[in-house]
Amino acid sequence: MSAYVLNLITVRLLIAALTLLIVSFAVFFATAMLPGDTATILLGQAATPEAVAGLRNAMHLDQPAFLRFLHWLSGLMSGDLGTSYVNNVAVADLIGGRFVNTMRLAGITALFSVPLALTLGITAAMFRGSLYDRLVTILTIGVISIPEFMVATLAVLIFSVYLKWLPALSFANDVTSVWQLLKVYAMPVISLTFVVAAQMIRMTRAAVIDTINTPYVETALLKGASRPRMVLRHALPNAIGPIVNAVALSLSYLVGGVIIVETIFNYPGIAKLMVDGVATRDLPLIQSCAMIFCVGYLSLITLADIIAILANPRLR
């Protein structure tokens, strides 16, 4: 790897870090603007003025917002996510198991949906204009156009209520065998695959078709290459950049956007945790969750950028 590429990657990482700083700033002040005085909410019936003042002092709420932001930020840097206002548990403990669950669901969905989407997208591009291509295109448009709670509910009705093949709920903690893993994750994974795969299929197809229209693919055709060879050997390696980007965008949805699927399948992930946090005005929890989503998004996007850089021989 050349110094130039290292340089490019370093710049990408620095940009990600800078963005993260902006995000943390935005997250902190957006949540700080939630109405209601935290101390008063926490004390509830015992909210005498003295008690509120005391608690505000103890929680540093009487300090200027920017100072609190720095406190919080330095805490984050050292891995201290703070303590939940609601039940005095370290936020890290609250998030811990949920985070693993979210990552596991995201991971399994990715394992399932990415190959599926790439296969469909690439083959549709390969046989562009064919009946198969049209079918894939129409299906993806259809899937994109249906709200995800419809997909999830229909899946439950069909697979759980009528066919009774799969459980309607997904308890991440009950997994002891591979078979159970499949059963537990089947429903949310199917629903999420519907949601994220369609975009990936569309983008992959478009990216591959874009590269198919290049002179070097025409050259391959004029060398006598078969269609699959043209697409797989020539078009695809050059479409990696946009494809990886599309995949990263879709997968970032799996980290924070799955609240509806988590709700329907009662899956204990972080999105639901954050919703709880919002409900109980548990600021440290909300902030930590939001930061996790942003870190997830940024790492995926940055990773995609880096892969695109590495996949581009012109930069090697």
Binding site: T19, M33, I141, P147, E148, F149, V255
Partner: protein, 280 residues
């Protein structure tokens, strides 16, 4: 291609049948949204059916909902909210995204870098959750919904418009305009904008679909239009109990959502194309 519409051809455009169908459905819902209050057979909040999840009948063309309200009236009024809110939000999002994106592309430098970083940061917070936080902070009203949805989708529109504008900005005619001494406003408005309208409109359509879906997702989480009105997402959600019986109360609004989003997608994929035919 023989499947072109002659009418459009007269204006130098080529438009496929599929796109035409998409456009007609969109127009249909647009008109419904406008005239709904005058044509609905029953007030949306009134319980008119003794039964609930009633079937399609001559009195209730689309059956009745879980309370026994007339589904046809609710869907027609729902069009107002789904179409209206989404359109307003997508317009605001795309307008601000495009203006910012073009400005960033033309001005460049620190302005571009700072704006891009900031909007990237906004983009990294999941839409539904930021929607939840906003509604928790300021409550749910149509205006809040529109602004929230617009803010959520502005970074995307910005990214898209900026990428297009950067390409256009590299064109020689922009350089020509600059060497003529033109100001930023002219360059943005007269030189760049006309060249990105096509893709921007397509992007707007796609974003519209996403907003319709996000709106129904938010309705699912309990944030949305206030009763007795309901957008289509909320109609599906509140009647989803009727799904096992195939109640029209849940099927009809789902079809409405699907018809709108699919039509928009079809239209975007088959936008009228200007006939670039020198000899024509």
């Amino acid at each position: 291609m023989s499947s072109s519409i002659p009418l459009f051809q007269k204006f130098g455009y080529r438009f496929s049948w599929v796109g035409m169908i998409g456009l007609s459905i969109i127009l249909f819902w647009g008109i419904m949204a406008l005239i709904a209050p005058h044509i609905i057979p029953h007030p949306v909040g009134e319980i008119v059916d003794e039964d609930y999840f009633g079937a399609i009948s001559s009195r209730f063309w689309l059956g009745s909902d879980y309370l026994g309200r007339d589904m046809l009236s609710r869907i027609l009024m729902g069009a107002r909210y789904t179409v209206g809110i989404s359109l307003a939000a997508v317009s605001i999002a795309c307008f601000s995204g495009i203006v910012l994106g073009m400005t960033a592309a033309v001005v460049g430098g620190w302005f571009d870098a700072a704006l891009s970083r900031f909007l990237d940061a906004m983009n990294s917070i999941p839409g539904k959750l930021s929607g939840l936080v906003v509604v928790a902070a300021v409550g749910s009203s149509i205006n809040v919904l529109i602004v929230t949805l617009a803010v959520i989708y502005t970074p995307g529109a910005y990214r898209f418009a900026r990428a297009l504008a950067v390409n256009i900005h590299a064109m020689d005619y922009i350089t020509v305009a600059r060497t003529r001494g033109e100001g930023i406003l002219y360059i943005i408005g007269s030189e760049i904008l006309p060249n990105i309208t096509g893709p921007v409109l397509a992007d707007l359509g796609l974003r519209f679909v996403f907003i319709v879906l996000l709106l129904s997702g938010l309705s699912f989480l309990g944030l949305g239009v206030q009763p007795p009105y309901a957008d289509w997402g909320a109609l599906v959600h509140e009647n989803i109990g009727g799904l096992p019986f195939g109640a029209p109360a849940v099927i009809a609004p789902s079809l409405a959502i699907a018809s709108l989003t699919i039509s928009v997608n079809l239209l975007i994929d088959n936008l009228p194309q200007k006939i670039r035919d020198r000899s024509a």
